[in-house]
């Protein structure tokens, strides 16, 4: 048991299919964890289980030594926030109103936003450079802007554990790095951050800890330099890559060289180019 997030033997099945299979995950407090794995590996589902949106069938989920299943939903929402990918059907709300939704678990039914709530909303907007968009309608924003607003909403919950599902989707390079630097800064301030990422390069460059999920199972976990090696990348994603050391940071640098040779010839004939063997 650690100060951070601690999952042990977590299982979850949906419509008879095991989506999360005996998963053990540890993310120490004050560190940035990256959940990586191919499409359909169970990353989003695992984040939903931690956020309490769905209930695990078996296993123990703990944060800071507390059993998450025993927490009341509202108390859980004060400690854990989830920033999801932007959705297509946008509500008719202004950016600042969307971010203020993050205060929901901190407010009673009759109480309005207090001075502190306004301050937290303003800080969250500022942390993502969204001040100039505060009064814009959310529905008029671009995908990348919505992504940042969703992250600001999660920050407004003032969580100790921040979960993010593909936080860099739709973002340009600078915005991707800005978001990850923000996450790293949040982790360094003592919070625990777990982000599902598609980009192995970003995970390698920023995460303290990577967890590789494939078919609902954890196939590797540890420091990026230990985990991200060509054999694992070939086995899990089906691509050939060389892993170099970054000339200035020393972190792993992944150089892809192509899709791995298919195992069976008929797959190669029928499957599209980007399919896994």
């Amino acid at each position: 048991m650690t100060d951070g997030l601690d999952l042990s033997r977590v299982r979850f099945s949906r419509t008879g299919r095991l989506v999360v299979d005996d998963v053990d995950v540890t993310v120490p407090a004050g560190s940035l964890g990256a959940l990586i794995g191919p499409n359909g590996a169970g990353k989003s589902t695992l984040l939903h289980l931690i956020a309490g949106i769905q209930r695990a069938d078996a296993g123990a989920l703990a944060f800071a030594g507390e059993d998450l299943a025993a927490l009341r939903r509202r108390d859980r929402a004060r400690r854990i926030a989830l920033a999801e990918q932007e959705t297509h059907d946008a509500p008719e709300l202004r950016v600042e109103e969307v971010v203020a939704l993050g205060r929901t678990p901190h407010l009673g039914p009759w109480s309005g936003l207090g001075a502190r709530d306004h301050a937290v909303v303003a800080e969250s907007l500022a942390a993502l450079g969204l001040e100039s968009l505060a009064t814009r309608e959310y529905s008029t924003l671009s995908g990348g802007e919505r992504q940042r607003v969703n992250l600001a909403r999660a920050l407004a919950q003032e969580p100790d554990l921040l979960l993010l599902d593909e936080p860099t989707n739709h973002l340009d390079v600078r915005a991707q790095l800005t978001s990850l630097e923000l996450l790293r800064a949040l982790a360094q301030s003592g919070r625990t951050v777990l982000a599902a990422l598609h980009d192995l390069g970003l995970a390698a460059a920023y995460a303290d800890h990577v967890i590789v999920l494939d078919g609902g199972r954890v196939v590797a976990s540890g420091a990026p330099a230990e985990v991200l090696e060509p054999g694992l990348i070939r086995g899990v994603w089906g691509v050939e890559a060389e892993v170099l050391a970054h000339p200035s940071t020393g972190r792993p640098l992944i150089a892809y060289s192509g899709v791995a040779a298919p195992l069976a010839p008929q797959v190669a004939l029928e499957a599209p180019l980007d399919a896994r063997p």
Partner: protein
Amino acid sequence: MKTPRVEEARQRRETPRVEEARQRRLETPTPQQAGFETLAPRPARRARTALWAVVLGAALVASVVAAVTIGPAGLAPADVVASVLAHLGIGDPTLSPLRDGIVWELRMPRVLTAAAVGAGLALCGAVMQALTRNPLADPYLLGLSSGASVGAVVVIVLGVGLLLPVAAFAGALAALIATLALAGAAGRGSTRGSAGALSPTRTVLAGLAVSAMFGAITSLVIFWSATGDSYREILNWLLGSLAGTDWVSVAIAGGALVAIGIPLIASARTLDAFAFGDAAASALGVHVGRSRVLLLGGTALLTGALVAVSGSIGFVGLILPHGVRLLVGSRHRALLPLSALAGALFLVWADTAARTLFDPRELPVGIITALVGGPVFALLLMRRRVS
């Protein structure tokens, strides 16, 4: 081959742009630069909401008085005020008993019932739109009103020994369950992991089917009993009418509005949390399933009580919340109370028009609301297709 001059021109063209982009980048604060400074809270939106609440509230009071004066027997606003004060025990009766009767026994209960029904329907519409994440949700379109009509008619016409609002509630609840089940069954498998967020179009189609069924049952029950002018009575239930309402109607509609409307308004924050769907609401600490059952149950209960006194009046729950959103936005703390005020105001005038336009004949008020609401509904449908 590029000449030096071309090259120079290209550089001239590009340098400022690159420089400008760099400048813009520098101006965008990074998380470290942005710091955590505190911005002043923005009171503008709240002041706007308060202003609209005052305007609508004052307009409602003035409209109630004005609506009571309108009719075949001419009355002045001062007469209305005098009568009301006398009945409240403040001041002495100055009106003749006949004129006082017109104010206090005929017109006042009808106008107040209209206000309560309008407020309740608009509130139900706003709550249902949030919970089903469906801009086309409304007690009438989703069949609740026709279900409630069946319940009410069964009690009134067949004399089944049940309290009128209770029977209407049972009908509304049955219709709600039927509509949501039908919409859900029709859409199973096509929406990925978004239980509750049923497709608006499918929900409206399911509501249409349920409305038609329950409307037919209402007509059948009235015909079966075949006493007096059944056509008129059928029309009044299917289109809605406030003719013949008395203080008992005010008590039923007003009582339900207070008893259920206030808890609904108190759940504004929960409704806000549904803006990004069920998963997001859950992550914000909302008990999604429990909230949806309680709140939709509340709208069914309120609709039942309203329809028991007025029949199924359409479109009030659809158009007023959309109008109010244009004024103060979508936060439910502002939207719900202002929708209720606007709905009351709207139905007071719609009913006044219904009883005076073709004087001495009366229109069912639902014809007026449909004349206004139909085009708005069409507009909302078209806007959805575009977006």
